[in-house]
Each structure stands twice: as structure tokens, then as C-alpha cells.
Subunit: 384 residues, 4 copies
């Protein structure tokens, strides 16, 4: 007895394309889902590249024009894993064609674009998903459970950092992620967007922000062609860096919570340091993606004398998602956050529910990004 | 242009069967190998179970009798992922049939069995592999590279622990892993065998050992049927625990190195604490599988005042295996150690080399296990 | 042959009085100084209290009126360890009397007071010291040495947190530290002042700040009398909390460094989490006072494959201050930061140099505190 | 109203002499004791050295012959802080003179000596103290409280390491600690003795042991004169190292607990790594002296999903000893373990109780050291 199929067309085959493809391929291996995922079409402009990728990643066919993918009546889901400057056109077209839209974050390169996308999706009446994959980390899902059940009490603080160091060398080339026309922004959309989603997910909506953006290295050697950050090589010509190297902001959010946020690609020594700490009246949690299988938890109600931050290995059968994989202490990795996210999304779709987070949440995220940019310009607080 | 195929039949579909299957399925997705793996047959006694597993894990066909799998002329590799009591018969038959034998560790339930297997494989002249998957952890492979290049100097100490706590409850049932007839031993073969392999791999051969075995809980509730440790349920009848709950030994190994080894299923709080520390004249390394993406390294030749254990995230492109997965700091997990091991093995087979570690190394490992058992009985040192 | 004497009168005998007294008593036991410290007079308003303290702490005599201490011609140093509202009057009088002034931080309860003090000290031509004791932590002094020698390169970021949780209980009483009239401010002067000093010491001067202050609990039970935070007991009457429970600010400082600062008494689980991280073009350092004997250091110029944050135990003979105490790994504690600070100050005085940090540095610190307060009010950036 | 006095004569003024002196000088500053300590006589053979030390450490007078100190009728306590070869003669004479004897560990250089000392003390009927100062670490005292109250349940395992690396350089000179005639043994008495005391204190008496001793570097450059390890300088002549560089043993102790012990001066990277882990049926604790203010604690009875090792900062007012020092998170150091030990001892003496641990416990410790040495020789288990 075969299950109904969810047929996917994926636009983009670089870093995110690899992660999404792996998730589609593996999700049914670990989760007993109500639908099977059919990996039909992988789309990319370079035919040799997309064919090789399709072969490695396990897609049936390839395409060079995303419009053709949208026109394919067999395809249920259009998954957008391209750089930000292409999201709006693809997503709007997909929504207008009645497709389910899955989209990388941030959903647009500007608030205007994000609003267009969200409006088109809303108008289509179809479900959507935004790839805030970190929500589907067992330790973060555990934190969510704890906060939702009141275990942390009233939330006083969230402090979130997303720190990397891959461009501190001034001769590192001007890859597309450093080009505002393609990427929309630098650390703000690439990194802080994740922290914002975590904050919205765990604490609540943003009320106001006050922040700054900064570019340490103003120009860099050009690269011949757009490439992912791993494969870029320098040229002798130089060009202007048009995005932020670091973004910092303060915030009031949730029900009276103070937030501090910092994203940087100049935090020497930090590789993928997506860390947050939340302090509440009854307890606290700390998370760092580089040790993504662990959640630090402080219980203010532990008996006197034995209070302390404990390191929970969120790998036990009763932890969110963890029971689908390996025994306790046999950790999972980055790619599993995508598998978990897709497992939840497929289940939601099969049950007629909206996946989470959907495009409206992507829009809410973008409103915060936009407010931070405006705050940088106005050098003061901006309300949301 | 299609690659040559390596066709596999896998015997056993529980915990290890799942891990091996995933490795076969994923290895070509991350590594550009000279051969493709064809997952032909999954074998298990329970037809419903093996069929469900084959479907989920991605095998073409199933079988209930491992002899049939060995008889299949298409199959190149017989992979043995069953409990230890069945290894000898299957492995010898497979070797006699001229198959490549891949086998879970320890290769036998006794030294006699291990010798039989190794002899049969040697006689067959075919390659073999033993699943000491931890060797294929990037951080451990990095440690190997460092030690092999002399970066740690003369090795003074190795101290290795493999600690778990899943049976401290006296009402936890008598699962097959606690039955000597099936499992061969308790912590010794299940856990210490991994530490022994690490020591052999990184430091050298064992010269002599002196150890002890201990069983804290002598009898436990029976389970109705053999089950993996995750799914077992207690019964009202009780049976004798016939394996060790903890195993401890001292050793002299390598070129004058002192070793201390401890394995336990009664180390409350430890989940999969496969940890070792190696101290050499020029530096030291520390590893803990629960944080398998990290290697601690102390360089005795760092400038005065700045010496300290550093936490290397072995996730950079130039670290062993790591470049095949995700960007730095985007960690991998337990299952990837199997993928890496199989990537190496497939490459070796394609190039006409022996995979590593092979059955002779499995035998060397078993000699240490046997020596520890004899040392326990004689209450003194045993030479190897 | 006896050494010259530096005779001290100490005003205040609570928490800081205990720490200063211990430093004076112990400094000559660990450091071979050019002058001996003579602990002559301890001053406090409560005669029974001050006598008991003088006896325990090792002072020769007591006084109830600080004016009397200033009048004593034998006394060289007036050390002010009272709450902030009394600093200005005492410090100005002491400076006018030609005394050397040692003062707790922040030096005043307002910028106006701080300016008065600094002016009086400047006019007196006498040396001075401000108790930014954390500078004299071996690990921080090591960081200073590394940064000063260029080992970290150009500094991109400093992020500093000083987090505690001792008043999250809304029934915790309104102790003097929560009263603006006495304490001047809450976390800003008590905690952030330390982070500001660290930033000024390690990175450079502040150019502009943008921050916010927040009070989570607006009123609390009164206490009958002013008491130190340890001994306070609640009453049935309630009073207004007039200081900040948390203070947060962004900054530009040094030569293009971005700074983020956060101080809180509502960071559940954090006890004395005085932490900073500094990222430079060649390396990074991380410090947390709760593990004050350690400095984390990342060297961007370590060989590829072996880079990582290393934990330096700053307890070796060649580390700053450490050689005066115990062998490596035999750690020192909070009180030793005061001993080290006084050892440096006594040496400086004996050699006719100004101790560090002196009152001008205290004033520079207060300018930052003041700018943060103004930024809170103006809801925008404030230049320094 | 002055308190009764406990008058002390201290034999030895090197490393331990400094630590004991500091404890006597400081104990009354932090603890409100029923007796005052009077630091009367410091004894050492080198007159210039002992006078300088007495002046720095705060002793009233000096002596060159320990017999004179014992003859002094004012002196209540003879404190022996000299190398092990002198303990027996001094301790026996002191006991015979009716003095209270405080003695460094291990109490003798052999079991015969230890028995003589313990017998003399027993015959004298006077109290005694052995300097197992680590018992008086707040975190260890907390562990004791937890274990004694049953919080850890039945104890399965103790694994204890005391690792250092100060002699891995083969040109490090042959200081007295490497001379069996003076030091009695190497790591065994110097380091393992501490681990043994911790095990006896926290878990129970040793039943049997099986161990080994090893010397990595057999000869070293001589030093001109006996010196403490810090000040030694090499010579061109070489001499034999007559003590162990590493000592390892397995044990059965307490009520069915398995123990593993390892001490080494060749554990590269480890400075004062006095670490233990204890696993019980209800929980576990982990301690490392390099972070002596912390105790890791795993509570097996924490709610499902939130179990994990927690880091208790044993610096809160209600933790053992901690309330006498500084606020929570303001850590103490190595020297405070001696202050705490003396505070307890003085209190016990004032109340007519025996200090803890006393000479009988010192003897019990030495029995284990002796059994390990015999086990090394016999290459098998030795009962106690």
C-alpha cells in the first residue's frame, strides 16, 4: 500500500540546495510520514552543474528555467534555495500558479519584496514554509517546550549571537554574499535573521529595536563568477563591499523581555556560533549550535546548594525528534535540522495544517530586519 | 557513464543494520567514489520486520536465510550486523564462498571464533572490514595524523573510558546484550573493544594487560523475546546476567606507553562517553564522542604563557572527511562515522587495497579482549 | 633594616572594606614590596561594628568620623570603600588635605561629582587609585600584554557581559544598592563600570554609545536599615526601586572597534558572570571571572587544522602576578585581584609613579556611564 | 575579652610551610573561632632562609633545631611540613613530648614509619591532624554531604586522576621529590595519596588493590642542593631517579565500589588535574581541582528530558565554608583549603574533639600506598 506523494521541485543547488535535497531524501528513512516525498526536478542555470548535482543529490530530472518547474502540474512544492534577489519573482509566480511555496530565509531582499511574497501566498490560499531550520534542532525544540509550559517563568532577557569569522582576511574575495544586490544584506539577513526567528519562536514578537550595521573591510578582490563561499577565488580587480560585516541591535520584545543581538563575520575564532541565552524568573537556557545536541538549563527551583547550569544531551528517545535517530549520546548534526523541519512540514501538509514557520512568519522576521536597518539610519529606536 | 558497482547483502537490521544501511545509502551522496554501492539484499529472520526495514532503509530485496544471501552470485560484500554469536558461522561461510566480508565488532564471541574467522578470510584471499567506525571520526582521524607525524612526540599515556548508564535500574530487563551466549561479553566487547581499537590505531599494539570484570546486578527481569536495548520490556520472571557490567584494565602498549581503560554501563550520567586522552612528550589530545566534532589539543611547544588545551572544531574543509559535508561549524553526527568508514573501504576496494581496519585487526583486538578476561580470572598480568 | 611605611586609613568596613583590608594585610606576604603597608585606622559610623571589623581585619585603631582620619598626619592614604553617595565629600576633603586618595568605583554618583573629585585630586598633585581590581587578574593582565604586543592584531569586537541574578525574587528587599540616592545607579555603576574599565584598558577610549536601562521590579519590601546585600531582610512596607535592574549599550571605541555591553541582576543562573570576548584580526580572547584563572585564546596564525580556542591556565610562574602565589594549577581567587592591585599601587608610589588606574581614569569611566544614561533618555546615540 | 590561644611551631618553610603559615595567619580573619592561633616559631636549618620566611609569613621567632621547638612548653602544636624522610623522627618525638601533632601527607615514607607515628600519637592520647587539605574544598565537602545523605545512592564507581606534567623534560633536574630516600615515593605519595584520601572520605575503605608504578625517565641532571621544585637548576652530573613518574591502580572499596586511580607527572597539558568522578545509583559528581569552586552533579531523579550534569558553583553562602569568604561567584583558591582545614581543626580542638583527618586516617591512607607498592612487585591483587 503506497502512500500519497508530495512532489517537489527545487530551485538552486548550492549549499542550501544540498541541505534541502538531503532532507527530502532522508526524511522518509527516519520518520514514518503520511506522505512520501518525490524528488522530481532540480533547477539551476548551469546545465552541467545542475545535472551533476541532481545525480548526486538524487533528483529525477533537471531544469534550467524555474518557470518550467512551476508549470509542471505534477509538482506540488516549489522550494526556493537561491540567493535572495531571486526569491520574490519565483515565489510570487509559484504562489500565483497555486503551488505550495517553501523558501529560504530571509524571504526577500527587502520588506517590500517580503510583503509581495506573503501577499501572493496569502492570496493563493496554499500552505508555505520558511527555512528557519534551527527551530527543528532537538535542543531548541526542547527549550520551546520548556518555555511554553512555563518552566522558565517570566522571561527577562534574551541575548543572541551569531558569530563567524570567514571573511576577516581582507583578501577574501567579494563573493555574492557580500553584494547587496544579490544577498540583500550581510550578517543581518544571513545570520541575525536566524536569531530573530529563535527569539520570535521562543520569546515573542518584537516591539522596538535600536541597532547599528558596520562594514570593516570596504573593498575586496573581485571573483570572476558568482560562487558559494567555499569555492571563491580572488582576482586582481577590487570591488565595493555593499553589505554589513556586523549587525548589532537592542530590542524590547515578548511581554517585557530585553533582547540583545549581535551577528558578525569578524568574530575571530567563532565558526558557526549561533548562541542564545534566555533568563526567566524560574530558570534559564543556553544554546550554541556548534554543540547543537546540548541544551544548558538552569532551574531556579532546584534545591538550595545544588543549583547550576546542567548540560542536557537532547539525544534521548523522549526529546523532540531525537527518538527517530540513534541511541542517546549518538549525536546528530546540522543536516538533521532540515530533515526534522521537512518531517514536520510534510506531516502538517498531510494533515491539512499550515507548516511552521510559514510565510507570514517569514514576513514578521523581515519586518525586524527592516526595522534594524531603519534604526541604523535614524540612529535611534524604531517601533514595529 | 556509469561506475562499477559494489553489491552488498546485509545480515541484520536492528541498530547496526540501520547505521550500515544509512552509510551505504548516503556514501555516494557526499563522496565522489570510484564505485557505486548497490544495496541489494537485507536479511533477517522475521519476514515482516525485515521487509519493513528494507523498505525504510532502501534495500532492493529481502531474505530470511543468510545462506541464501551468500549464495547470490551478484553480491560482492556480505555485511554482518547481527549479535556476536552468529558472526563466526556467517563470516566463515561467506569467506569460504569467496565474498568480501564486512563485520561488526568484536568479530567473534571468543578468541577461538575470531581466529576461525580471520583464518577463513585469510584463506579466501579476499578483502575484509571490521566496523571500528570511530576511526572514521574526523577528530580521531586528525589525532591519528598528528600522532603519525610526530606532533605529539613520544607517547607516555593513554587513558580511555567508554561509559554509559542505561542499565543502572535493577528492573531494566535482561536484553540480549546482557546474555553471554548471545553477546559474548558485556561492556568488554561492546564498549572496551572500541577503546582498544582506538589505542591500537593511535598508539600501538598491546604488550600486556591486567584487568577485572564486574557485574553489579546479578539477575534481572526476563524479556519475552530478543530485542534491541531501546525496545525491551520487563517480565515477572528473572534470569541471570551473564556478562560484565563494567570492565577495567591497565596496559603496557606501543613503545612504552601506559594505558588505563574503563568501560561501564553503570556510570550514571554518562550516555555515550567514549573518551580518551593521550599524553606525549610534545603534546596531548583529548576526545569525547558526545562532542565528536571537537578535538582538544595541547601543544607543549606553544610559546610560554599561551599554552593550553585548545578546542579544535574538526569541521573545516581541510580536516579529514569534513570537507565532504557542510561548512565549518555545521557539525556532523554519529551516522557519518559509518559513511566515512564505508567511503574509505569502497575506495580501497576499487583501488585493490585492503580496507582498514580489516579482519586481522579485528583479531588483534579480540586478543586483547581475551587477555583481559584471562587476567580477570588469574588476578594478575597477562602478556599478549 | 626596615622599609618605609605607607600608612592607610580606610573608610567603610562592609564587603569592600573586607576586601581592601585583606589586600593590605596580605600584600607584603606575597610580594616583596619597597614599602610596608601600615593598617592604621578603620572608620565606620557604628562603633561596635567598626571595632569588631578592625579587630578581625587587623587595623590598629578605629574612628567614627572620616574627617578625623583625614586630619591624622600619620596617614598617607585615605581609602574610600563606602557607598557612592559619600565618595565626593570624602575624596575632595582628603585631596584638599593633601592625602593620597584610593577610591572604590564608580568614583562618584554622577558625572558632576566625579569631575569634582578628579579636579580636587589633580589640584592636590598627589597620586590616586581607583579600585578597578579586575585589571589585576592574572588572566586579564595577560590579555592586556597580548593585545599591547599586537598579538591580537586590529580589534574588531568587544562584547562584555556582567550578569548576576541575586534580585530576581520580587520579595528581595530594597537594599541600598537599589536606592539611587545612595548607590547612584544599579547595574550600570555596579557592574557595567567594570566592563567599561576592561574595555578602556584592553581596547581604548569610547567614542559614542547608545543604550537603555530597565527596571523589572519597580517596588520592593523595605529594609529597616542600610545593610549590605548579604544581610538584608524584608519588611511589610514597600518602596520604589530607583535604579536600573539591567543596562545595555552598544558602542564604538578604540580604533574602530564595535562594542556591546550588558549588565544585569536578572540573568537567572549567572552569579558573577563578568565575561568578555575580544576578536581581533590575528586572534581572540575570552574571559569569565567565575573561572578567573583561565584565559581562552584563539590564535588565527596557528597552523591550519589545529586552530581552536585554548584554555590557558594563567597560573604559571611567568604569568602576571601568578609567580607570587602557588605552583601552576593551584588557583587563586577573587581577593587576590585586590592584593595584586595594591601591590602595583604600592610599588608605583614607592617609585614616584602614579598608580593605575588613577582618578583621571575613574573620571573617564564615569563619562561613559553618564553618556549611557543620557542615551537612555534621548533614545539615540551620544558622543563622548 | 581575649580568646584562649593555640600556639604553633612549624617545621619547614618551603611550599607547604608557606601554605600552612598563610592558613594560620588568615584563619581568624575569616572564621570566628573559639581559639586564636599564635604563630610562635618557624623552624628551618638555614638560618637566613628561615628568618626571611618567618618575617614574610608572620612568625614571632625562628629555630634551626626542631627539637628545640618541641621542648618549648608554650607550644601546643608541632606542625610538620618537611619532606617525608623527616616526618617519623619529628612526629614521634613531638608525640612523646605530649604535643598535638599536625603533619603533611603522606605521614611517613613507609608503612613502618607511618605505624610508628600513629602508635606514638595514639599512646600520647593527644589529638592530631593530617594535611589532606582537599577535603576542606567547598565543592568536595558538598559532595561529602550529598553522598552521606544518600543523594547519590549506592556508589558503583570512583575514578580518580591526579595528573601533572612538570617533569616531562628529560633535563628537568633530580629534585628531592624524585629521590626516594627523601620523598619516599613519586606520584604515589605526592599525588595518589590525595586521591586515596578523597576516595576514603567520600566512598569508604579500600578492600584490595592491583597496580603498577612506572618511571619514564630513569636518570636526570643533579641539583647542587635540595630545593623545592620551583627553584631547582640542572647540573652536568646525572643521578638515578628512584621514584615513580606514574602510578596506576584498580581497587575494590567501600560497599562494592570499583575504583580506578592514576597519578602522573607525565600527563602533558595537565597542571594540577586532581579530578574524580563518582557514579551512584541516584546520581553522580565530578570534581577537578583546577576549577575547585565547581562541582558537577547529575541527578538521576531529575524529571525526564531535563537530566544533565550541572555545574554547581560552590560559592553560595549555604555551601560548606563558602559563606566565610565572598559573595557567590567571587571564587576562592588553593590556599583557602588550608584555611578551612585549620578552621575545622581549631574548632575541634577547642571543643575537645579530634580533628579530621587525624593520624589514624593518615595511617589508613599509607596502608593503601603500601599495598599498591606491593601489588606492583607481586604483579597481582593485594588485600588490605
Amino acid at each position: 500500500m503506497s502512500k500519497p506523494k508530495l512532489t517537489v521541485g527545487l530551485i538552486g543547488y548550492q549549499f542550501m540546495g544540498k541541505a534541502h535535497s538531503n532532507a527530502y531524501r532522508q526524511v522518509g528513512r527516519f520518520f514514518d510520514l503520511p506522505m512520501d516525498v518525490r524528488m522530481k526536478t532540480l533547477c539551476g542555470r548551469n546545465q552541467a552543474g545542475v545535472e551533476a548535482a541532481a545525480n548526486v543529490f538524487g533528483w529525477e530530472t533537471t531544469a534550467n528555467d524555474w518557470r518550467k518547474v512551476i508549470e509542471d502540474p505534477e509538482i506540488d512544492v516549489i522550494d526556493i534555495a537561491t540567493p535572495g534577489n531571486t526569491h520574490c519573482e519565483i515565489a510570487v509566480a509559484a504562489a500565483e500558479a497555486g503551488k505550495i511555496v517553501f523558501c529560504e530565509k530571509p524571504i526577500g531582499n527587502s520588506l517590500v519584496e517580503a510583503e509581495k511574497i506573503a501577499a501572493a501566498v496569502a492570496k493563493s490560499g496554499r500552505p508555505s514554509l520558511v527555512y528557519h531550520n534551527y527551530r527543528a534542532t532537538p535542543a531548541i525544540a526542547l527549550a520551546k517546550k520548556m518555555i511554553a509550559s512555563g518552566q522558565l517563568g517570566e522571561i527577562f532577557h534574551i541575548r543572541a549571537h551569531y558569530l563567524q569569522d570567514w571573511i576577516i582576511d581582507p583578501e577574501f574575495p567579494l563573493v555574492w554574499r557580500l553584494n547587496r544586490d544579490i544577498a540583500g544584506s550581510g550578517t543581518l539577513g544571513d545570520l541575525a535573521a536566524h536569531s530573530i526567528d529563535t527569539a520570535r519562536y521562543l520569546v515573542g514578537e518584537f516591539q522596538e529595536v535600536c541597532g547599528m550595521l558596520h562594514t570593516f573591510i570596504k573593498d575586496r578582490p573581485l571573483v570572476g563568477e558568482i560562487d558559494d563561499k567555499m569555492g571563491a577565488t580572488p582576482s586582481t580587480e577590487r570591488g565595493e563591499v555593499t553589505v554589513d560585516d556586523a549587525s548589532i541591535f537592542m530590542a524590547r520584545l515578548g511581554n517585557g523581555t530585553l533582547g540583545t543581538f549581535e551577528a558578525s563575520r569578524f568574530s575571530t575564532g567563532r565558526k558557526n556560533y549561533n548562541r542564545f541565552e534566555i533568563n526567566g524568573s524560574k530558570g534559564a537556557v543556553v544554546f550554541n549550535f556548534e554543540r547543537m545536541n546540548e541544551l544548558e538549563y538552569y532551574n531556579n527551583e532546584d534545591p538550595e546548594g545544588t543549583q547550576g547550569f546542567r548540560f542536557i544531551q537532547a539525544t534521548e528517545g523522549h526529546h523532540p525528534y531525537a527518538g527517530h535517530y540513534w541511541p542517546v549520546g549518538h549525536i546528530i548534526g546540522y543536516e538533521h535540522t532540515f530533515i526534522n523541519l521537512i518531517a514536520d512540514a510534510v506531516t502538517a501538509l498531510a494533515e491539512g495544517r499550515e507548516p511552521s514557520p510559514n510565510m507570514q512568519e517569514g514576513l514578521a522576521n523581515q519586518r525586524v530586519l527592516d526595522a534594524v536597518e531603519r534604526s541604523h539610519t535614524s540612529r535611534g529606536w524604531v517601533s514595529l
